[in-house]
Amino acid sequence: MTFSEFILRGVLAGSIYVLLAVPMSLLFSTVRTIDFAVGAYALVAAAVAASVGGVLGIAAGLGAAVAGSAAMALIFLLLKRFGCHNHIIYALASFGVATALASAVLWQYGTQSFVRDSFSQFWSLAGIRISPQGVLNLVTALVAVTILYVVIQRSQLGRMMRAAAVNVMGSELAGIPVELIQVGTYLVGGLLGGIAGLLILFTAGLDYSAPLSLTLSGFAAAIVFGIDNPFRALFGGLAMGVAEALAAGYTSGMVTSMVPFLFLLIVLGTSRFGDATVAGDRT
């Protein structure tokens, strides 16, 4: 009973990680880099939505998050224009964007925590009380993943995305707007990050210090089962939620805090993710 309750709560909590993991997976597939600012988009969305309030607030929050990612996309484009093709530099730049966004929120709104209420009723599921908000989070994550899966696997856009991911030069020659796709991926990251932020706003709340750990949790979730498919991100996110819930339920605070990082280290240490396979120039 208790065990299954922890599992269920972990799944519900993990749905947030899914929304943060999917942009990581998409961006890594198309640009081979990380956007450290995904957590910051979530914060910006939550802060703006909380201060504006209402449906307008939600729209404004998402708009602000996408605007943040647009700034990142612009920096990415400028870096490319200036002849930088180093993925780690893109990641470093996104780190700067993340720091700047979090600081802007702190400056504007202070250290307050952003939190809003959604549902006052609770549902009972096999004797376990759950909030409809938790279910909404899970449904949102499932819908987002499904839409992305359909787009990537079934649509023309998805075919272009996959082509651009595999071979940039070839795709460009084939007339695929690689840069447009890459910028689009950054913007989708802003949108999904923003949605995640809004869900956190209505679920548990967050403050200006949250972005980096949100980004890391998202990334850890994205790579657990392989970074190349949104469905793997789904399972990764849920798995991490469950691992955290179980750790919080049965172990010390130390282990709970370490979960996302241990996830990262173990996956990086054992998988072939980003394996620096090098070969001669013609293999």
Binding site: V278, A279, G280, D281, R282, T283
Partner: protein, 277 residues
């Protein structure tokens, strides 16, 4: 132990030959190599030719540790070096060049060659940081040896020139110098003549012959049959992952299969190749 039957006998394998045999490599289901082999003997130059996609680069990469073969063996003087990582292959005495030379353009020639001495440097990492007398003496020795290598290849005057200012032919020579610096007994050259002018090709051939004359075994992957014929005593011809034939350049050049598959195909763009046929 030997691969497919050869038309001509393999030169008697010296005790410390570099031998690849029965090499098989598959990339995602496509067989790039299906049981091929080659033997390089100290002091001799072996040519490896074939059309694009025939698998010559893959064989080359297997012999240098950049690709791990699915089956087959690479031995050096009888010792099995199959599947060793590239850096250990180099330490065993087998160095390679790259088709597009991979040399930092900002560095000067001597620095580029000094990089080849990594294996013969004895000072430890921390010893280098501390910079005690032994480390400084070693650094002086390496510089002297680098100068000696450059001297030997007639590049001494260029030692302070930046690599980016060199012609392609000279850059390839620097790459060869770097291989020599690593103390290699076998040097594998990946299309060294690509993009060189006629004059540069001639200089390069002369240098390669000099290097071989000093007892270094050389494997030459090359498109240019004329160059191969002028340099090599043995030529291995690959086609679609198999050895088509092997032998002296003259023999190979007359082989009808080679004519049909390879020389004919490049003949239109390579008059010397055709003349040779």
């Amino acid at each position: 132990m030997t691969g497919p039957a050869f038309d001509t006998p393999v030169p008697p394998a010296a005790a410390d030959a570099l031998v690849a045999s029965g090499i098989e490599v598959a990339f995602g289901g496509i067989k790039a190599l299906a049981g091929v082999g080659a033997t390089v003997v100290p002091g001799r130059i072996v040519g490896l030719i074939g059309r694009n996609g025939s698998g010559k680069s893959t064989l080359f990469n297997c012999m240098t540790g950049f690709v791990r073969p699915g089956a087959g063996r690479v031995t050096l003087g009888g010792a099995d070096i199959t599947g060793l990582p590239a850096e250990r292959v180099v330490r065993a005495g087998i160095a390679r060049t790259f088709q597009t030379p991979r040399i930092a353009e900002g560095a000067d020639v001597r620095t580029a060659v000094l990089c080849g001495f990594f294996n013969s440097a004895k000072t430890s990492f921390m010893g280098s940081v501390a910079g005690f007398g032994a480390a400084r003496r070693e650094e002086r020795r390496l510089r002297e040896e680098a100068d000696a290598v450059l001297e030997g290849l007639g590049l001494a005057d260029l030692r302070h020139t930046e690599v980016r200012r060199l012609s392609m032919g000279l850059v390839r020579m620097v790459d060869v110098a770097r291989c020599i610096a690593s103390g290699a007994r076998f040097i594998l050259l990946d299309e060294p003549a690509a993009g060189l002018t006629q004059a540069e090709q001639e200089t390069l051939s002369r240098q390669i012959r000099d290097v071989a004359a000093r007892g270094v075994g050389i494997l030459l992957v090359e498109h240019n049959f004329a160059l191969v014929r002028s340099l090599c005593e043995t030529v291995v011809v690959l086609e679609t992952g198999r050895v088509l034939c092997e032998g002296a350049p003259e023999t190979v050049a007359r082989d009808p299969r080679v004519l049909r598959s390879y020389l004919g195909a490049v003949g239109e763009s390579d008059e010397q190749g055709e003349a040779a046929a």
